[in-house]
Amino acid sequence: MSTQQGAERLELLQGTLDLLILRTLIFGSQHGQGIARAIQQTSDEELLVEHGALYPALQRLEERGWISAKWGISTNNRKARFYALTSAGRKQLVKETTKWNRLRAAIGRVLEAEEG
């Protein structure tokens, strides 16, 4: 089962979950389970998203005003809480993405230098 092979997957770095959620929502509003699925799928099942940790994160983002939420009906006709990116969230996404890219590049350089 894909979900049972979690042990082999990568654990998320501290603080990156927010970035991934924001990024996922850029394609349109989505409910929590959908966000979890999307992250897993787009990372080619490499990233492990603990579903339980997802919701406090969503709550936090909502409180900061980066995403908004309302109850709706999912594609398979179930009640779910849908999240959408706000304009503040869009700006935050740009900022976080830039930061992440710089961080990744910097860590990459350090690691390469060690190798070389």
Partner: protein, 885 residues
């Protein structure tokens, strides 16, 4: 922000929805429902953890804690109803009393005067500091200069007086105010009916228009809606009513008299009956003014200073440099309430002290409880409660107590407010009605919170410093409390003791002063004497004055005396002026009379001064004043005879210390003829019971034409019938004379002590409260100590200790606290009583009897308070005590 106030149930529903969605997805992959659901749950991880995480990040946490604390606090308070009742009642007492005094302070000191933009209102006072004279009054040209200066919107001189009103249902003596036509424009008030004077009216003399008060309109004119345009006579002069002032309107004034004006007459002060408007004739008593908007009082003052300097240069003869003429602008409010501020603040201080004692008391009780609950606190801490939470919970309990106390106190205050308002002396400048309004409620709330914080802090801090391990080790026994805590308790009780000792000594000194005054021999006999007043009109036109000469007036006085003697029960009758009524007069009626003594005219130094009253010959016998030398007046001391005077012993001793005062002569500087002293009488305390020897001069009513008359009657009087009978008799002689102000003389004597009585009663009440609270406080601490030591006492008894010794041991502990407190308190009281020297009579500020008496009383109360717990201690059954937990 409420979009974040998401409910936990909503969060739970979302998690449930997630698991449903995941289950559905896994079912699509071919799993059975049960397997899919289990897998979805596993993938989700710890649901409870997620929910807790949500809860703790939420904004409900604080609220939940708070609510929890309140519920817990209420439960704890319900569990010990005795403690709760005592604490709530103590605070109720403190808050109730403090709020009551505050409501008076609020109405008099804190509220602005009830006129629009009242901060722009000032009184204008002229001083001549060069010759040591203050508030000397103003001349008409000075008033006109101020009016034209551009500093003020309006300036209006005011001069009060009494006037005979005729033309209404009854001739009456009423308070009237002589003002400029712009007076009501200064105050910014409008009549309820008709118009006020035209502020731009510049008629030089009286305008012949008057406004009347709502009270007079209802009383004398039966609220006649067509009153406007009607005529009435004031001292025989004819005026027309142009307006009626609204109900509840009061003039700014220091005394009840000044505030309850009933007729306003406008004048330009520059024609009859006023003297010619000369610059150095300062006959305008005082003036009030409205400063132009945008100008502060300080700015206006500096511009007035400039004007004064210019006038001094322009009129050097009228303003000699050595008199150093100054014009001072005093905020109107300061003029009105300035002289009561100190006593009110003093009273607020005294009541605050009582409240502080109450707080200390409750702090003690709470501290005792806190240590009894030490194990509870320790266990809760051991189970993971944060110290901050424990402290906030204890504080919440204290605040609950104080709020409950505040509510009870306010309810009591509200229920008894009509009663309390009667205690407030009439002399208080209550332009704003004393009431329980929002600011008073706010004060009560703040006082409750502060009180709660004060007495809640000690136990809360104590809980914050709790040592866990030793506390838990004490096998189920109530903790004996740390040494530090016991010390805090003792210090609190000693403080309490000292504070209440100070209050009680203050009360004791006031009580002794009052007692001495009551038992003083006044030198006259006020028993079965009634005084009734009348007033002879002084019209502006001398031709209409029926009592213009001494002979004319003497005829009237003799007729009133003759008719008075025939009334039932009357044995003696005399007539004097208002100044002759012992103790009954305010400062306005006293006119210390500057004198020149024959043979010493040129003498420099202090001008001889004496009070002066005018009386008929019967006066001295009626009041039981005894002649020492010479003779009293007789019927022949009339306008044909030389002016004569009777003086008192104090006057004779002061101004003719060597040799006999008899046949000596004196006069007022302006008089043309001399007055001869014909007799000396014994001193009587007619000015004030507190003053033994004030120089007094008595003049003959048949020589001096007094206008403000007081008719004295003595006998077995029917107090209800005499005023009516006398009015009938006086008005059958002259129907235009008002008869008013009937009063038994012994009532006047006790009324003269009313303000002393008020402060004595208030401070006494506070002191009693303090005594009660201190008694409760020491009782609480000693019973706590006893209950803590039950185990120990049990052991002692089991080992054969005498019960007497145990009793002595407990009492000694209470006594030690009491003596320490008394020592500290006596030192403080020495300082406070020195500050009180001005209000004391007959006792020295360091009165040994009061000091020792109060200290003994307080220690006695302390011993009594200790005795109850001490008896409980010796009744301890050793068997029970040893098992006691």
């Amino acid at each position: 922000m409420f979009r974040f106030n998401r409910k936990a149930s909503d969060f739970g529903a979302e998690i449930e929805a997630h698991i449903e969605l995941e289950t559905a997805r896994l079912q699509e992959q071919g799993l059975s429902y049960d397997n899919a659901r289990t897998a979805a749950r596993r993938a989700f991880g710890n649901v409870t953890h997620a929910q807790e995480h949500f809860y703790e990040s939420g904004h409900w946490l604080w609220w939940d804690h708070f609510w929890q604390d309140i519920r817990y606090g209420l439960r704890m308070l319900r569990k010990s109803p005795g403690f709760t009742t005592i604490a709530v009642l103590t605070i109720a007492l403190g808050i109730g009393a403090t709020t009551a005094i505050f409501s008076v302070v609020d109405a008099t000191l804190l509220h602005p005067l009830p006129y629009p933009q009242s901060e722009q209102l000032v009184t204008v006072e002229d001083d001549l500091p060069g010759v040591g004279a203050q508030d000397v009054g103003m001349s008409v040209p000075e008033w006109q200069d101020l009016q034209r200066s551009g500093i003020f919107d309006y300036v209006s001189p005011i001069g009060g007086g009494d006037v005979n009103l005729t033309g209404a249902s009854q001739p009456e003596r009423i308070r009237f105010l002589n003002v400029a036509p712009n007076y009501f424009a200064v105050l910014g008030v409008k009549p309820q009916l008709g118009n006020s004077f035209n502020p731009e009216d510049h008629t030089p003399g009286f305008t012949l228009e008057v406004l009347i008060s709502d009270g007079l309109w209802k009383r004398a004119f039966a609220a006649d809606p067509r009153i406007l345009g009607k005529s009435l006579r004031l001292d025989n002069d004819l005026y027309r009513v142009v307006g009626v002032m609204p109900a509840g309107y009061h003039d700014p004034g220091r005394t009840a008299e000044e505030r309850s004006i009933e007729i306003w007459a406008a004048s330009g002060f520059a024609a009859d009956p006023a003297p010619p408007p000369l610059r150095n004739s300062r006959f305008l008593q005082t003036a009030i003014a409205r400063i132009k908007p945008g100008l502060t009082i300080a700015a206006a003052q500096s511009r007035v200073d400039g004007l004064v300097a210019a006038l001094q240069k322009q009129f050097p003869v009228d303003y000699p440099l050595q008199s150093a003429w100054k014009v001072r602008l005093v905020p109107l409010k300061e003029t009105v309430v300035g002289n009561v501020r100190q006593s009110l603040i003093l009273l607020l201080g005294a009541v605050g002290l009582v409240m502080l004692i109450g707080c200390v008391n409750i702090a003690n009780l709470l501290l005792a409880r806190a240590s009894a609950r030490g194990r509870e606190m320790a266990i809760r801490q051991a189970l993971g409660a944060a110290r901050k939470r424990l402290m906030s919970q204890l504080l919440t309990e204290s605040l609950l107590l104080s709020l409950a106390g505040g509510i009870v106190g306010l309810s009591i205050l509200y229920g008894t407010k009509t009663l309390l308002l009667q205690i407030v002396p009439e002399s208080l400048p209550q332009l704003n009605e004393v009431s329980i309004n929002w600011s008073v409620l706010l004060f009560a709330l703040a006082a409750s919170l502060v009180a709660g914080a004060i007495f809640g802090l000690a136990p809360a801090l104590h809980a914050g410093r709790l040592e866990l391990i030793p506390m838990l080790k004490q096998e189920g026994r109530g903790s004996t409390g740390s040494g530090e805590q016991a010390r805090t308790c003792r210090v609190l009780v000693i403080t309490e003791f000292a504070l209440s000792l100070v209050l009680m000594i203050a009360a004791g000194l006031l009580l002794r002063s009052f007692w001495d005054l009551l038992s003083v021999r006044p030198g006259f006999n006020p028993q079965s004497v009634m005084v009734v007043r009348t007033w002879l009109p002084v019209p502006n036109d001398p031709a209409t004055d029926a009592y213009g000469t001494a002979a004319q007036e003497a005829r009237l006085l003799r007729e009133i005396l003759r008719r008075g003697r025939m009334l039932p029960g009357v044995e003696e009758v005399a007539i004097g002026d208002v100044a002759a009524v012992p103790l009954g007069h305010g400062w306005r009626d006293l006119n210390p009379y500057p004198l020149m003594l024959e043979g010493r005219e040129a003498q420099s130094g202090e001008t001889p001064l004496a009070n002066r009253s005018t009386v008929t010959p019967e006066y001295f016998h009626l009041l039981g004043m005894s002649l020492l030398r010479g003779r009293l007046f007789n019927e022949s001391d009339n306008d044909k005879a030389p002016q004569s005077a009777v003086i008192n012993e104090a006057m004779a001793r002061k101004y003719w210390p060597d040799g006999d005062a008899l046949a000596k002569r004196f006069k007022r500087p302006a008089d043309s003829s001399w007055t001869t002293v014909i007799g000396v009488i014994a001193d009587a305390r007619t000015e004030s019971l507190a003053e033994a020897a004030v120089p007094e001069i008595y003049l003959s009513a048949y020589q001096r034409r007094p206008k403000d008359l007081a008719i004295f009657v003595r006998g077995r009087l029917d107090a209800a019938a005499i005023p009516v009978d006398l009015r009938e008799q006086v008005q059958s002689v002259d129907p235009g004379l008002p008869v008013f102000g009937a009063q038994m003389l012994d009532d006047a004597v006790s009324a003269s002590l009313s303000s002393r009585r008020f402060s004595m009663e208030m401070v006494g009440l506070f002191a009693l409260t303090a005594l009660l609270l201190t008694g409760l406080g020491i009782y609480g601490v000693i019973s706590y100590i006893v209950s803590e030591r039950t185990h120990e006492i049990g052991i002692r008894l089991a080992l054969g200790a005498q019960r007497r010794n145990i009793l002595r041991m407990v009492l000694r502990q209470g006594l030690g606290l009491a003596i320490a407190g008394a020592a500290v308190g006596l030192v403080c009281a020495l300082i406070v009583s020195r500050l009180m020297a001005g209000v004391l009579y007959g006792v020295r500020p360091v009165d040994p009897l009061t000091f020792v008496g109060v200290a003994v009383l307080l220690i006695g109360v302390a011993l009594l308070a200790c005795y109850i717990p001490a008896r409980r201690a010796i009744r301890v059954d050793p068997l029970v005590a040893l098992r006691y937990e």
